[in-house]
Amino acid sequence: MSPNFHLWLIPLLPLLGAAINGLFGWRFSRQLVSAVALTFSGAAFALGLWVATQFPSLGTGLYRESSAVWIRAGDFQADFGFYLDQLSLIMLLIVAGVGFLIHIYSVGYMWEEGGFYRFFSYLNLFLFFMLTLILASNYLLMFVGWEGVGLASYLLIGFWFTRDQAASAGKKAFIVNRVGDFGFLIGLFLLIKHFGSLDFETLFASIRLHSPETQGAGLLTSIALLLMLGACGKSAQIPLYVWLPDAMEGPTPVSALIHAATMVTAGVYMIARSHVIYDRAPAAGMMVAILGTLTAFFAATMGMTQTDIKKVLAYSTISQLGYMFLACGVAAYTAGIFHLMTHAFFKGLLFLAAGAVMHATGGEQDMRNMGGLRTKIPWTFWSMTAATVAICGIPPFAGFFSKDEILWQAYASARGSWLYWLFGVITAGMTAFYMFRLWFLTFFGEYRGGRAEAHLPAQPGGRGSGHAGGDDPHRVPSPSHGQGGIHESPKVMLVPMVILAVLSVVGGWVSYHHTFENFLSPVFREGGTDSLVETRPTSTGVESPVEEGGKETLFMTISVGAAAIGIFLAWLLYLRRPAWPDRIAHRMWGLYQTVLHKYYVDELYAALFVKPLINGSTNLLWRGIDQNVIDAGADQSADLTRRLSDSLRHMQSGNLRSYAGWVALGAAAVIGYMVWIGIP
């Protein structure tokens, strides 16, 4: 008999925290608020750890519990059911763990802010939804979490709601996510229509009866594509990535937790969870891979030109998510999840470190106004360094293992292609470039705070103006935050950073001897056999043929080399020859502008969707149809009746003889009628 894990408690604990803080927090002291928030999120993490320790005792590696029926209509039913397998266990640990760390960090980071209780309430709420998403035993409950994290994201992005950019960014995030959710929903409808259930076990059991749709787009392909749309929204993939850069308006811990480590990976998790479908829909898989590749590549290019430290990280996140998508697209789910995990460590850390930098510089986000911070904030610097190296894929840091795995699978998997690999490698080079650009600009050279900002040709939108306006609520009270004001963050912030730094270093080692892969393999195995889609084992695998192994080593070398080139260029341009970037930008003005403006995608969307919708709704639908057609039509007919009535009045001329005339006429008509029917 399997033990009772009480999985439902795991999401519920943060919810309780959220409720307590949300309802009564305004009366609490900051200490109490943080105590509540940390207690409940920590309890969730502890419970998760406990579950993890108990997990091996489950022989099957599968655990499910159904707490209650949620919706039941006709023959459809959805439960409050929870489901635990290796995949969700890993996600649970990542989410609860990183989440807990970031909670701790936030206590320090947000200490000065108004709405402290509100922040922690939202943060706990996010954990609740995220854990629900992960532990759900059916798509509908997953969707609950899915939408819920969107809500939490909305609330947290808009946390500083008095700032217009923050408000707009929150809204944008929610709406763009809704576009993705629309696809998700339709996918669910298709599942309900054809399989009658949304429960993972039941559903996958019946889907397993289908053979892969190798040609054309069948049912499973459609479902897979629709789910992919949902995933694109949540995981910020092309074409729905636009919200994530804007989402950086939220407080930095939020960016770390939601927009780097956990929420944005929900799409990857969902695709991995739905692997049964994707395995049978190669066309959809290809689509995922292509989207992932493109996203990785283009986001990296955009990341190279950003000057806002958080924006760089945001594009980097998009790019890394692209890698994960690529992995899922080529059916290398393990690789995707692996990268998800390492990414959670180093990208979470990067954001936290960036937050620490901003904390130190009094809210400065523009890298051009930083520099030379290395010595001022050493702990932050070293953490940041660990994470940067990790993301660049330098061995033996965590990112190396996962990225390399993905690149190899992109080439070698049955669904792979050298094109994926090529783009992946170039992206890796660019990643190294922009990350080290950030690193150099921030920590090396002279401190440039307060200097004129015009040395770059144009300002990217977003943060600059808000900063110039001086209305940054994040700003530390002291007005003169010169070099003298730069200070290391408090311990409560540093501890989580250090923990994550350690993880960024060692996190990748779990793949040694296929530990990670083997752990996850029951999930992605198809009913006892391996996945339908063959993925290649890694170089470290003993059973790999020599030739394959050699190729893989070569590939690995190439990607590390690409990273090295990137690092070198970054060093050259931003440390050695700081004037060159401007010159290059002027030389390639058009391209530079295009990339700087994120390929004008926001503008394109505005022109294609937002403006026509608003103008069309206003002028065509509302003023046009509603007022000028329907209402006017009703008014016209009323008017017509009134005119008719008015002309009828003139029958009533007041003249007696006219009246008699009418009577006589009427009488004649009656007589005529009666005589007519009277004569057969």
Partner: protein
Amino acid sequence: MTTGLDHWILTLVTFIPLAGALLLLVAPRRDRDLRLFALAVSLLDFLLSLHLPAYFEHQPYASDLTFAGARVFQYELNRPWIRVPNIHYHVGVDGISTWLVLLTTFLTPLCVLISWKSIAERVKEFFILLLVLETALIGVFVSLDLFLFYFFWEATLIPMALLIGMYGHGRRVYAAIKFFLYTMIASVFMLAAVLWLYAKTGTFDFVQIQTAIHNGQVENLTLAAPWLFLGFFVAFAVKVPLFPVHTWLPDAHVEAPTAGSVLLAGVLLKMGTYGMLRFNLGLFPEEARRNASWIMVLALIGIIYGALVAMVQPNLKRLIAYSSVSHLGLVVLGIFSFTALGLDGAVFQMLAHGVSTGALFMLAGILFERRHTYEITEFGGLATPMPIYASFFLFIVLSSLGLPLLNGFVGEFLVLSGAFRDRAVYGILGATGVIWSACYLLWMYQRVFWGKVVHKVNDSLTDLGVRERAALWPPAVMALLMGVVPLVWLKVIDGAVHSALLPLAQIASRGTMP
């Protein structure tokens, strides 16, 4: 499980507000007492109405067994009223109307609370009208006699029109007349249809007519059925309101006093969808099936069109009004999907919309009390002076845009999946509503609450008082409850929906035979 109350409970619930109104008529003109009394009456009615779901005899779930002959209508009371045209006082509720009755009794006390201060003149008349309206609304939902139904149907018109016209704002007279004429003109078509049915069957009893139609005992039915269907449908479509006849709604809402808007959006519109469900589906299943495609197209237009127009409204209430057009389009879509999912969802959505849109109108009214305007540009940054208010507002907005675990989601999801199951394209188009609702609601929320306070006058706005919070907590809690434990509602609804679908299923099976 029968109790002694069972036969009289519906009558009591229906007429207690009326009795209260009559007592108010002779009551002294002390405004505070009047308000307290109205509150007491409506609360009493609400408590009594709780009897209905509490002792409701659950029918087994449709999927569990194919039931036949289970008790569809409960708490029935059938007494002859007028002998010569065979009119009965026949009341009873099934799983659908039970909740609509409850929705009415639930919202009315809130209306009383929310009108506490905002109605300062002619207070007595106001509460009399409100209570009379409640009786009429409940009457509509409990009537099982077509005459009685029409009786209450028309009776809702007057108090509502007077509420709009007497206590409304600016162009209230125009709005009241428009409201009255639109619904009145439409409902005469229903009257004609009802009369025709009586002429041919000799009874107004819903069940008897249904049986007669089902057994083919009505002469000339095949010829007349399309027209009868249309007659009923037109009346209901205007009430809902469906796309081309919806323009009375924004006007009525904008001008109506808060309580009027709450009941108008919360309950009155449901009369239309309820009617479609009960009569168009119940009496003319074949016609319903035949006409479903264009009706669903209208519903879809309503969903998308309403949302798009809502998006660009400069007036808060107008925006919410158009959102109602959108949401009720969803309900109609669900009804005409003829799937258990769709119908369950439609009924649930009716209730959910009643709660959340009712609450939205209350919120808008609270703002109006302070600023005497609904123009969105007059606000901005309100979350700073009024954080509690902003929280409530956000919560209700979220429930309205269908966030899972709140009430809007369940109905929306079921309706759309039902519609999708019936006609995939319709489901897909309807699902775009998910995007639109987020667009207009969040945009509105941003413009009203976020950003900095633009107008100085808004700086000094007071946050919610105790009374206002008392009025807002119930819908908020209800929104959450309905999202988390929708089973409480669905359990009751599902049985009724199943019996509503039974004739349709029979037709479908008959249709497959040559």
